[in-house]
Symmetry: C2
Subunit: 240 residues, 2 copies
């Protein structure tokens, strides 16, 4: 059975303007790979209502799961929740369970649960909450779309809350063979290897260290025996 597929949607002007460097994509990619869920596509878009709705629809139709990051805080530019609701034609409003979570958190921290903060209790009808152990305000899953905060520490905590509930596949294994020759010198051997092992993904990533040109050849697949056979053949081909 093929592994489940996923896409990520990063929402935020601050990434596209170069002000902020996104950290969530790399984190999510690693976590999904460990669980055998294939991350197939990432899109980064701005805080724009039409763009968010269109991307949520396109990705949720195409992939088994969509994880969003960003745009669920208390300020006027936080419009992800209402856009996800609109993408699925669902109403959205303040929900009692989400409000109770916020009320308890702000009572404890001595802050006022004002109108702006209450925005974070707006949850589309039919969604399941995603726990936020860092700052309380929950994320949510609606259909196959999982909506999470953009602040990296909160995003990571929400990913940890969500992932155990998703069905994974065979974890993707990888082996790296370090070759102290340039890509152009090993390309033919790699091409033959890729033909002989169509079940593996074989990539080559050049590096330069102290004037030395080399390549890290990364072999990926779900069957450890095939991976090991391919690595042995590559080492033997390159030694010949």
């Amino acid at each position: 059975m093929p592994n489940p597929t996923a896409a990520m949607l990063v929402i935020g002007d601050e990434i596209l303007s170069g002000r902020t460097r996104d950290a969530n994509m790399h984190h999510l990619a690693g976590e999904l790979t460990l669980r055998g869920i294939d991350l197939r596509e990432v899109r980064v878009i701005s805080d724009d209502r039409d763009a968010i709705i269109e991307a949520v629809r396109a990705l949720s139709e195409r992939y088994d799961h969509v994880v969003t990051s960003g745009g669920i805080g208390p300020t006027h530019d936080d419009i992800t929740a209402e856009c996800v609701a609109a993408a699925f034609d669902r109403p959205i409003g303040i929900r009692d369970d989400a409000r109770a979570i916020l009320a308890a958190h702000y009572a404890e921290t001595g802050k006022e649960l004002n109108a702006a903060r209450l925005r974070m209790a707006r949850i589309p009808d039919g969604a399941c909450l995603i726990e936020n152990p860092v700052s309380a305000a929950p994320g949510f899953s609606l259909g196959n779309v999982h909506v999470m905060a953009g602040v990296p520490s909160i995003f990571q905590a929400m990913v940890a809350s969500l992932l155990p509930s998703l069905t994974g596949g065979a974890p993707l294994l990888s082996e790296t063979v370090r070759v102290e020759r340039g890509e152009g010198d090993i390309a033919e051997a790699l091409s033959e290897l890729a033909e002989a092992f169509p079940d593996l993904a074989i990539g080559s990533y050049p590096f330069q260290e102290k004037g030395l040109h080399g390549s890290n050849v990364v072999l990926r697949g779900t069957d450890p025996a095939r991976l090991s056979d391919a690595c042995a053949r590559l080492r033997s081909d390159l030694a010949a």
Copy 2:
């Protein structure tokens, strides 16, 4: 006149598997912002022929410029050039000017210009070469699609080669106001500010430092006087 728009297409399994952290998006975002070109969307996709062709077509129709990164080296998984040619229904083959650049480079470095390295001289008909001062093998522009290497040092050098040839707009200016209050406490003031200054993009980015919750409010626009007015009003609103 509105600023020109751009999208970026990052091609590479290694980013989606979490093995490699992309560095090119952040670099390009900053460079385009400085030149007044609005980066509106970034997509990260795998080394898959159909996915690349579809994304190139979709983004090149929608935006003024598309910058790609990755997949133009000498190995079997480097398929970007042929996919870009296919997206525009153009033939692709080894071109004399690109071959001459490679021949000179490899003659100088004492390496063989073998069949694998010659792949890097395959350029779609009608494309313009983009200079690569780091490792010679050129990128190219075909229509509004600019094809560059994924290795960050080479990507950056190619961006520097390309950008002077693109027409920019009014550079996007930004001012940051640091507020030592949580987002939930300033959301109302920000919302009113956004209504009063519809020509500015106003974003709020929470931070935590030593137990202090604060927000960096970032105002962006092309008119320095409007930016300055908005910052003054924000400071006065928050002091009230």
